[in-house]
Amino acid sequence: VTETAVRDQPVFTPTFDAVARSQLTAFMRFCESRTAATFSDQAAFYRFSVEDFRLFWSLFVEWSDLTVSGALEPVCSGDSCEHAVFFPQLALNYAENLLRPLDGADDDTPAVIACHDARPDEVLTRRALRDRVAGTAAALAELGVQPGDRVVAIAPNDANAIVACLATAAVGASFSTASPDMGSFAIADRFRQLAPSVLFATFAEREDATAARVADVVRELPSLQFIVSLDDGLVPSEIGLASYRLSELAKTRRAEFAWPRFDFNHSLFILFSSGTTGPPKCIVHGAGGTLVEHVKEHRLHLDLGPGDTLFFHSSTAWMMWNWQLSALASGATILVYDGGIRAPDALWRIVAENGVTVFGTSPPYLKLCEDAQFSPRREFRLDRLRAVLSTGSILPDASYDWVRSEVGALPLQSISGGTDIIGCFVLGNPNLPVRRGESQWRSLALDVRAMPSPAVTWPIGELICANPFPSRPVGFFGDDGRAFHQAYFAANEGVWTHGDLFEVTSSGGARLHGRSDAVLNVGGARIGPAEIYRALAGLPEIQDAIAVEQRTDGVEGGRLVLLVVMSVPGTLDASMRARIRRELARSATPAHVPAVIAEVGELPQTHSGKRSERAARDALNGIAVRNRSALRNPESLDGLVDSVARVEARQAARRVGEEATDIATISAIWEEALEISPIGLEENFFDLGGTSLSALRVVEAVAAHYGRDLPQSALMQAPTIESMAKLIAQTEGDDFAPVIRLSRRSSGPPLFLVHGVFGEVFEFQALVQHLDYEGPIYGVRARGLDVRAEPHSRLEDMARYYVEHVREIQPEGPYSLLGFSFGGLVAFEMARLLRAEGEEIEFLGLLDADLHERCLPWYEWLPFATRRQLRRAVRVLERSRRMIPGLQNPRPEPALPPPLERVQAHAMRAFKNYRPRPYDGAATLFRVDVRRAEFCDALPIWSRVVRGGLTVRQLRADHMTVLHEPTVLDFATVLSYALAGRASAR
């Protein structure tokens, strides 16, 4: 009883006063006054909005005082959701509506606050923004841009992107965006379809070498007439096109610009679907529909108005960027942030420092903060914040409680819609309480319902919208309507089927249950399998492939499983798997890299020869395949589950025959070594009279028979024939991961941290936590931690092995490496290898990386050796004093866990024998100021071998504490600066 009761208790309830003052209440009163109806509650008002949607929209356009011309009637011609046209007699200019002076938001009100990682923030007033937009629009018109033209942009999320977008909209052309961190392949795939005439792009020097990628994209876009540099970066001369700077265009003759109005449904934004088949679909959104839907959502559902500052963390490639931009039409200030989440506090700091009132983020970020036990309310003053929005995927119940306790008494609104409708189907309602796990309300005037589906249990169903709505896309670019029909209206004739699963709850809110179609949700990221297929098309060894999402119970967003049919059956080996992973990471994104790659004989296909992701996915997830008869080869599904299971648990799934062979072989070896026969499978080697020497005989014989190394102490770990067979089976699989992910951040290039003398990377834990770094951080671990593998005892071998594995994660440079102590030597050697392979090293950090005294030339070694001799003499003296009373001998030091001990011993050997050779790149040496007495100062050697410039940073720390709190904070700061390439600023 109580559990349900607690769960149903609202986690937030708006005050009476807030309800009374909300714009939603005002609009309800307005509607009442015009219709003579009375809306007793929100449900009644929602019913009205859906049943009489024409009246609703007409009243809304009137009430919201949008700048339009022409006739309000007809509101909507046609009754079918697919074909209805809203406001055919109206004309408007989207940009004009966003930039016009408003009550409470005059021309001196800030329109845009642009926050940057690397630059000072920029604030544009409404006047300044309008002037720049008008100037740029006038210039675009003069340069020949026509209404209906397509303009595309590769733009960071800053003020310039907004100017470019609004100027384009102002001249009646459509605008499409990609963010600079997307691959050139993916960008070109999208833009090529639009035959765009203008490209706005960033050419400033960015860490991700955007300029080169922009050039790649330009080559793919022959329709381009000219290019505009967004940020004054130099347009490379190899791009043989006319180019302009946005800053110049913005200054031209703005007064002459007249804000022409265009048809209500002229195309404004063209967004891209993730695409399950073929290239991404180009979804054309009309200007009027987008505007009225956004203004409705902002004002009625979010209560946004003058005085508000909206910060929705997004990139320019996501529809939330377009969505937040429209908030200018409601008089709100928008805040854009061009940067990543380097630490849990990153976005909250922006919220606090800029007085953000409405903050939009994603469930993973909320989870990240929760996991890090970060409390925004304790760290910052968040007085002005009044709502938190979350979108992208399902929001867990716990996040509601976390926001309540760690952010404050404000509503957490789970909103959901998407690219397809450039808006929301479910979102907030300022007049209603918030319940855990629920979206508060359905979007007004949209008849959103859960349609019973055989795939799920009612009341969960397919999300459909049954009535016409203005932000329904105009269509797909270049489509005759068939693909558009297929995408949204084929599943349920006449109504919009969204592809999400959801339910309407008893309180009238909504609960989302994930995607229903073949789009993959991998760890929260939406991935179109088509992009994977196209990347794999370049590998002739692969005949066919299918990518599906495999879910783990209770986890939203599964993992990616790739099933492949090889051109030559049986050829999917470790190196082929590595090539596939590399190819996908290179030409798509790291999110496209599958967790499991399994070879199958054939893929499930429909009768028309189309591969069926849905059937494969259902089979993999243990769900009854709905329509086996629709498949040409339903038997392929059985083999498929087997294949994945085999790959997944290689050691467990070894076939019985092979295992029996192993056992027979091992038994024979044991019998020989122990001179006993027969031996039971579970008998202990040492109980049978085995000695160290006979144990080595067994290890030797097994190693010789299988041609692979077993550890010397294999029999201690596996003292029975059975366990030894397992050990041998495991040694085969390469399941040990030498490179593991240490941080969840992911919006930038990776940083690799190389293990110290013990081989493990947990000593970096505190550093990772405090390091201000937006890219993913990986730890490189010693192979010897795997009990089945022999540790490396040459540093060069270690480096080669690690480079191979690092390349699987990051196939191409520039690379960033940091090594602590012994790991500094390894990182150095890795950098040398990568350079030798033609790669660029962006950052090489050596943290207190001492070298063996053997590396010193004699004139430097001598004073060191003398000092050490002195210290030893002192120690012996001290010890003999302590020893006098008894004959106590020192025992060997307390033991480490055996694998670490093993690795340490090998590493010491490698350390002793390693001589750094010259390296033509640059490096940063972080020196601690308390030196370890037993090690020589390596500075003279590093400065000799690092030929590309050695930067030295002194740290107030010693070797043992530099990675521990609180000292690590200093190091993390110094390192963050060094990584950002602005160490000189300190």
């Binding site: 049978l688 160290s692 080595l696 030797e700 010397q712 004959l887 001998n889 020192p890 093993r902 050997r909």
Partner: protein, 247 residues
């Protein structure tokens, strides 16, 4: 501490006992063991169980002699890699020991430094060379391969016992890679330093043509070791030192 079985700083007692006593002796000897030791012994095959019981009984007897504690009361502790030692409460004088056996011969070393001992019956086995090539250090292999016939077999076993004694003294046993250090069968007592670890004095022990044996001692404080050899006989329900002790 019994003065008769006392130590000067460099004394290493080396006791041998036979493990081929008849069933009634084994039964009597098992009464000296702790329940855990009896369990441990019983897990082995019949021969292994007999040797384990007798070896433990001999060990308890020897430690009783050196510490003055009754053999049944002697308590053991185990190091991180399973090396047994006297419970700290009982090793007041810093008594340390190590035990090795081969077939029915058992050898127990007792001294005041960390110690390891190994004894092997020399028996020709074709695979021993392969084991050596995989695990021994290069210098050791060179020294072994210079020899022929029985000499070579003996060299193999001597090298092995020296190495095994050292890794036992160190406590890590076979988790310590054997090719990290080299011993020399051409030298007498020698000091071997482990990288990043301790130094050990290792030496072969004279036990006739059929047996190879070696002892390793922590070389931090012990000067040239003085070896004292003793034998244990079964007499009157316990192992007792034989009358004659060779110094």
């Amino acid at each position: 501490v019994s003065s008769k079985y006392g130590f000067s700083a460099n004394t290493v007692w080396l006791w041998q006992a036979r493990l081929d006593h008849p069933g009634e002796v084994v039964a009597a000897a098992s009464q000296l063991l702790s329940p855990q030791e009896r369990m441990q012994a019983a897990r082995g095959s019949a021969d292994v169980a007999r040797r384990r019981v007798l070896a433990r009984a001999a060990l308890r007897a020897v430690l009783g002699c050196h510490t003055g504690i009754s053999p049944t009361v002697v308590r053991f502790e185990y190091g991180p890699f399973g090396k047994p030692r006297l419970a700290s409460a009982q090793s007041g004088g810093g008594v340390q020991f190590n035990l090795s056996s081969t077939g029915d011969l058992c050898l127990i070393a007792v001294t005041t430094a960390e110690v390891g001992v190994d004894v092997e019956r020399i028996a020709g086995r074709a695979d021993l060379e392969a084991v050596a090539s995989r695990f021994f250090a290069r210098d050791e292999l060179t020294a072994i391969r210079q020899r022929r016939g029985n000499e070579r077999l003996r060299a193999l076993f001597q090298t092995w016992t020296l190495k095994e004694a050292l890794v036992k003294a160190d406590g890590r046993g076979l988790t310590l890679p054997l090719d990290w250090f080299a011993v020399s069968i051409d030298e007498g007592p020698q000091v071997v330093s482990l990288e990043g670890g301790h130094s050990w004095t290792v030496m072969t022990l004279p036990f006739g043509p059929e047996i190879a044996a070696a002892v390793a001692l922590h070389s931090g404080t012990v000067p040239e070791p003085a070896l004292v050899f003793g034998e244990l006989d079964w007499d009157g329900g316990s192992f007792v030192p034989a009358a004659e002790v060779t110094r």
